[in-house]
């Protein structure tokens, strides 16, 4: 222990004697560690952002939309056919064990008027289950109820963007708005949700009972008044999404009387699939950045090795003397290793501070989310110590195995 302490003292003294040289050597490690920390922070910030966006869509969400309309061999785009119904939604909820709730949705654009302001927005006719599935919360007032759906009450729940544009600072609860000349009472306002991962404003819409929407605003899209644009389904939990999808597919095929050879007349989309790709790409990106940054750490390590070699050469006589008074191979090895590790760890410590500062600056100036993980800091410390050992070992070994007589004679 005392030996180690004295080795540290000897190393610190040697570093202090050559202040400029030591700090220049450290600079390599500082830059390397700072680069790793900053890039990992930016990278995990991006990943976290994607994850938050996925969460904002609604957890465990599965979306079912009608399939493509095929007429005379011409395939129209997905969603054009009218194959899904409110009954489908009810049956999905009733019959599939892994589906906790299902909400039918009809949507359409409409102009909304309040006093002398008006605003074009999207009308979503649905059931209260929609709020659960999309993780939406009512921030003011209340949502509409199943009774509102049953009796097709003219009530509306507004998104924040709609409130901002129609009401400004006026409290919208209880006010009457006109949608396609039909008066509606505002019963609630949704909590702000922000942008979707695809850049859409998720707050620019109005929710109302699906029955009211069909009769007063959007109109039935077919002779079949039961038809809907899509059905949102929530799986009982994240890991059961696949099962829930399979159950939904089986039930819908059966309900739609599809033969085994026939294609589905609907398609099922899982939001996670969409964003998993995005998440992966941001992960790969940050990994690559970190890899580039670690190259600079290695360059820093080579700098340490270089300086240590110079130091060993400069202090050959000192090494010879230490050997003469009884320093063993291990003593000399320890001394120079400690010196290299001190350089790299000190550099690492400064690098952590610089890296954290740099990512704070980046997140302020570029408005990027950055996340400093304890893991990346620990990794940086560990890595810089490792660099010290790896690149300090060769010079230290060289010193330890010097021939004492030649070392003493060295000029």
């Amino acid at each position: 222990m005392k030996r180690l302490l004295s080795a540290v003292r000897i190393a610190l003294r040697a570093l202090k004697v050559n202040k400029v040289r030591s700090s220049l050597t450290m600079l390599g490690i500082v830059i390397g560690v700072a680069a790793v920390i900053a890039t990992v922070a930016v990278g995990s910030g991006a990943t976290q952002r994607v994850q938050q966006q996925i969460a904002s869509i609604g957890s465990n969400l599965v979306m079912i939309i009608p399939g493509s309309l095929t007429s005379s061999g011409l395939h129209m785009g997905t969603g054009n056919a009218i194959t899904l119904s409110e009954t489908d939604a009810r049956e999905l909820m009733a019959q599939c064990p892994e589906i906790s709730v299902a909400a039918p949705v009809v949507r359409g654009g409409a102009q909304v008027v309040y006093g002398d302001s008006n605003w074009g927005t999207i009308i979503m006719g649905t059931t209260p289950a929609y709020l659960t599935i999309r993780d939406l919360f009512v921030s003011k007032g209340a949502g509409f109820s199943d009774r509102d759906v049953d009796s097709a009450n003219k009530v509306a729940v507004l998104g924040q963007t709609v409130v901002d544009n129609l009401f400004g600072s006026v409290d919208p609860i209880g006010k009457s708005i006109r949608i396609k000349h039909v008066p509606f009472t505002v019963v609630g306002v949704l909590e702000r949700k922000g942008q979707s991962p695809t850049g859409q404003d998720q707050d620019d819409n109005i929710l109302m009972p699906i029955s009211t929407a069909k009769r007063k605003v959007i109109g039935s899209r077919s002779a079949n008044g039961d038809a809907v644009n899509s059905i949102l389904v929530q799986a009982t939990n994240m890991s059961q999404i696949e099962t829930a999808q399979d159950e939904a597919r089986a039930l819908l095929r059966q309900r739609h009387h599809l033969q085994p050879a026939e294609d589905d007349d609907f398609s099922i989309r899982n939001m996670q699939e969409v964003f998993a790709a995005q998440e992966t790409s941001s992960r790969v990106m940050s990994l690559m950045l970190a890899a580039v940054a670690s190259v600079s750490l290695i360059v820093g390590g080579i700098g340490i090795m270089n300086i240590m070699l110079v130091s060993v050469r400069e202090r050959t006589r000192e090494i010879g003397l230490r050997q003469a008074v009884g320093a063993k191979t291990r003593d000399i090895l320890t001394q120079f290793l400690v010196e290299a590790i001190t350089l790299s760890i000190a550099g690492g410590a400064v690098g952590i501070v610089v890296g954290i500062t740099a990512s704070a600056i980046v997140s302020r100036l570029a408005n990027w989310q950055t996340v400093i993980g304890v893991g990346s800091v620990l990794l940086a410390v560990l890595f810089s110590a490792l660099v010290g050992v790896a690149f300090g070992y060769y010079p230290a070994r060289k010193a330890a195995y010097l021939d004492p007589i030649e070392a003493l004679r060295y000029e």
């Binding site: 005392k2 003294r13 050997q323 191979t329 003493l408």
Partner: protein
């Protein structure tokens, strides 16, 4: 009791590519405890090689070396280091002190490398410094000390482990004659009062005169090995010291 140093047919050769240089050939002699030996000879005569071998800084290529009855010619690096640490103190012409390091820390150095912790290291270093007349200069750095003082720090460093042998390689080579006398007085006292065996390389007959035995080298061999009948004694009467060194042949 065996001789402190007993070398038999000691040889050291260096392989320089095609030619082999014989730095030392077939040297056999004994040095008894308590001797004060001056080793003389022209450059390249093998005297430094000989002293390096005695100090366990190097291993012979042939022959035997019994230090205190214990063969050391086959020990490895670290074992030799331990022997140097315990039994030998070195003093060099250029003092070889660590720069920007206090006298005290310089003297403590061998204790740092002892195979067990030395709890009273600082006190021992202070005592060693005091014994060479440097009490009060513990915190001075080498650059603040005169040549003679630096050499005395080096002597204190060599003494701090209570070695049996002091090996000095031209210890007065860089000192003026007055300071040289001072240093030699210290050596003589260490030899006579504390009974430490001293082996000293020198070119100077005046310095060699302080010793009680002179070994002369030439071309890697001992050419003469004689007691000094009346060793010079700094400031006191001359007296006869019986030879402690015997030639084997």
């Amino acid at each position: 009791m065996p001789s402190l140093i007993d070398v038999q047919h000691l040889g050291k050769s260096y392989n320089l590519g095609e030619t082999t240089v014989h730095a030392l050939r077939d040297v056999s002699l004994q040095i008894e405890r308590g001797s004060f030996v001056a080793v003389m000879g022209p450059s390249g005569s093998g005297k430094s090689t000989f002293v390096n071998l005695l100090g366990c800084l190097d291993r012979p290529t042939s022959g035997r070396y019994l230090l205190d009855g214990f063969p050391v010619e086959d020990l490895d690096r670290d074992q030799l280091a331990e022997i140097r640490n315990r039994k030998v103190g070195f003093i060099f012409q250029n003092f070889s002190l660590l720069a920007r390091t206090s006298a005290l820390e310089n003297v403590e150095l061998p204790l740092l490398y002892a195979d067990h912790d030395v709890p009273d290291a600082e006190e021992r270093a202070r005592n060693a410094l005091a014994s060479v007349g440097l009490a009060g200069r513990e915190l001075s750095q080498p650059s603040q000390l005169s040549g003679g003082q630096q050499q005395r720090v080096a002597i204190a460093r060599a003494l701090v482990n209570n070695p049996e042998i002091l090996l000095a390689d031209e210890p007065t080579g860089q000192l003026d004659s007055r300071t040289s006398d001072e240093i030699m007085k210290i050596f003589q006292e260490l030899n006579r009062v504390r009974g430490i065996t001293i082996i000293l390389i020198t070119h100077s007959d005046e310095i060699a005169a302080y010793a009680n035995h002179i070994i002369r080298f030439r071309d890697g061999q001992v050419v003469s090995n004689e007691p000094v009948v009346h060793p010079a004694y700094a400031g006191a009467q001359m007296r006869f010291v019986p030879s402690a060194v015997k030639v084997l042949q």
